[in-house]
């Protein structure tokens, strides 16, 4: 594996290897010395064109725990803000000897472009409304550690699928790993051809209540209130009533089912505080698992001579 740009880059064996490696990486978090020497002398650049403190910190912690040197290159206050092109930035990073570039960008496909211009590995840390593969990996890791398996799980992904990079990567990865995904939301926010576009066998439902009793996992996506100004739904209140997860809805889930959210949450919109703070919620675990999974990804990309 040279880059991680899409959930589609991962076959079942590679994805499982990442999750298994992440499990080993997770043990480091419990040690007194939270550091491994594997990437000593490697340079990882976090190239962030969007504010996402949580993702950047997660990658930064992952790289540092593996002893890599980390350079944070944020679009604000750098030459990027002065209008330097992505290509020129890529050539600059190249000249600085970046072994990996972790990129967050508002434009779909920007990491693919970057991968054409740098010799190092490119990790997609979220591009536009396209993908966010490490989020899908940490979600899969969280499901596997809570429920013991991925194959055969029923996963409901609820909300603004149309604009969600988390949803796209999750559909691809979970299908590869044998889980059954049902996408739930208003028809305006679920592309009609999503199953054939991403993973045949993916179901679509517009009725959250009918999906909940059969779900092992409910993943709530962040829904931006601004979407209502573009007529995707009439009002935040109506959205919350039809597709928000509240206490009574949560109790329709099977006993063992878990509730996930990639964060940051809109409490009161797609999820109520009662649900977010319940024992079923894995939201805090997801953050911790993010570091382990990103360590695994960085190690597998940079830990050997993979050129």
């Amino acid at each position: 594996m040279r880059h991680l740009l899409s959930g589609a880059d991962l076959d079942a064996a590679t994805a499982t290897e990442i999750l298994d490696t992440a499990a080993e990486m997770a043990t480091v978090a419990g040690r007194e010395v939270k550091k491994l020497p594997a990437l000593r002398g490697r340079t990882v650049v976090n190239l962030f064109y969007e504010d996402s403190t949580r993702t950047r910190i997660s990658f930064e912690a992952a790289a540092k725990r593996l002893s890599a040197d980390v350079i944070n290159f944020s679009a604000k206050g750098s030459s990027v803000a002065k209008g330097e092109s992505l290509k020129d930035t890529a050539l600059t990073l190249q000249a600085m000897g970046a072994d990996a570039v972790v990129v967050r960008h508002p434009a779909s496909g920007a990491p693919h472009r970057l991968a054409d211009w740098v010799d190092g590995s490119v990790v997609n840390a979220g591009d536009g409304t396209h993908e966010h593969p490490t989020q899908a990996l940490l979600d899969a890791y969280t499901m596997r550690s809570r429920l013991g398996r991925l194959a055969g799980l029923s996963v409901a992904v609820v909300g603004d699928v149309l604009h969600s990079r988390v949803a796209r990567s999750n559909v691809l990865l979970l299908s590869t790993l044998g889980a059954k995904v049902t996408l739930v939301g208003p028809p305006t926010l679920i592309p009609v051809d999503i199953a054939s576009a991403l993973a045949p066998g993916t179901d679509v439902s517009y009725d959250l209540d009918s999906v909940l009793p059969h779900s092992d996992v409910v993943m709530m996506l962040r829904v931006q209130r601004e979407r209502m100004n573009d007529s995707y739904f009439p009002s935040a209140r109506e959205y919350a009533r039809r597709y928000g997860l509240d206490g009574p809805r949560m109790r329709r889930l099977p006993e063992h089912a878990i509730v996930m959210h990639p964060g940051p949450m809109n409490r009161g919109m797609e999820i109520t505080p009662e649900v977010a703070d319940s024992p079923r919620s894995t939201i805090v675990e997801q953050v911790a698992n993010g570091v382990s999974v990103r360590m695994a990804v960085l190690y597998l990309l940079l830990g050997g001579n993979n050129r």
Binding site: E24, V33, P37, A38, G304, N305
Partner: protein
């Protein structure tokens, strides 16, 4: 007049293979190491055996089993994966990371005996010492190996050696164990017969 080189080449050279230890020999050598450990540690109290994957892990288990047979003392056994501490990571495709399993009592303040199959350059042991340093603080560290084939590149020596096998650098030593390979055997592969 030049002749095509193929016309002068000799028949394909066969690498020589020599069995150094057969199955029964391996058992005997493990027993001997177990006795030595008991003797040198005066009963193997406060001792932990950590096997280095792949074959050090089953060896450590066998040693613990033999020790408990001989002296009725239960020595905790664990596995120490050293992949992330290797100094040659960048010379190979990414190596899969294996599990590190420390015994429930941990290793702090214990006498840790690292167990591996072959001692060669000493680089694996160096990596293991680094890894050990990150997972705890043992009182002392010793090393047990089934075979020492020489050619150290670092100032490292074993405390318990099953068999010394003088080798040349073109030769290689291959240990197989029932647990990992189906049978116990130690073989020496020659470079080529000239």
């Amino acid at each position: 007049m030049a002749y095509p080189s193929a016309a002068r080449s000799s028949p394909a050279r066969q690498p020589s293979v020599k069995v150094i230890l057969a199955s029964a020999d391996v058992q005997r050598v493990v027993d001997r190491i177990a006795h030595q450990i008991l003797e040198k540690t005066q009963g193997a109290e406060d001792t932990v055996l950590l096997g280095i994957p792949t074959r050090g892990a089953p060896l450590a288990k066998r040693l613990a089993a033999r020790i408990s047979t001989f002296e009725d003392v239960a020595v905790p056994v664990g596995v120490l994966d050293i992949t992330l501490y290797r100094d040659d990571l960048r010379r190979h495709a990414t190596r899969a990371v294996g599990p590190t399993q420390l015994p429930p009592g941990g290793i702090d303040g214990k006498r840790v005996i690292l167990v591996d199959d072959v001692l060669f350059s000493g680089r694996t042991v160096r990596a293991a010492l680094d890894a050990l340093n990150d997972v705890g603080r043992p009182a002392s560290v010793q090393l047990a190996v089934l075979v020492d084939r020489g050619h150290r590149e670092l100032p490292i020596r074993a405390d318990y050696v099953g068999k010394n096998i003088p080798t040349s650098l073109v030769e290689s030593v291959k240990v197989t164990l029932a647990e990992t390979d189906g049978a116990d055997e130690v073989k020496l592969f020659g470079g080529t017969n000239q």
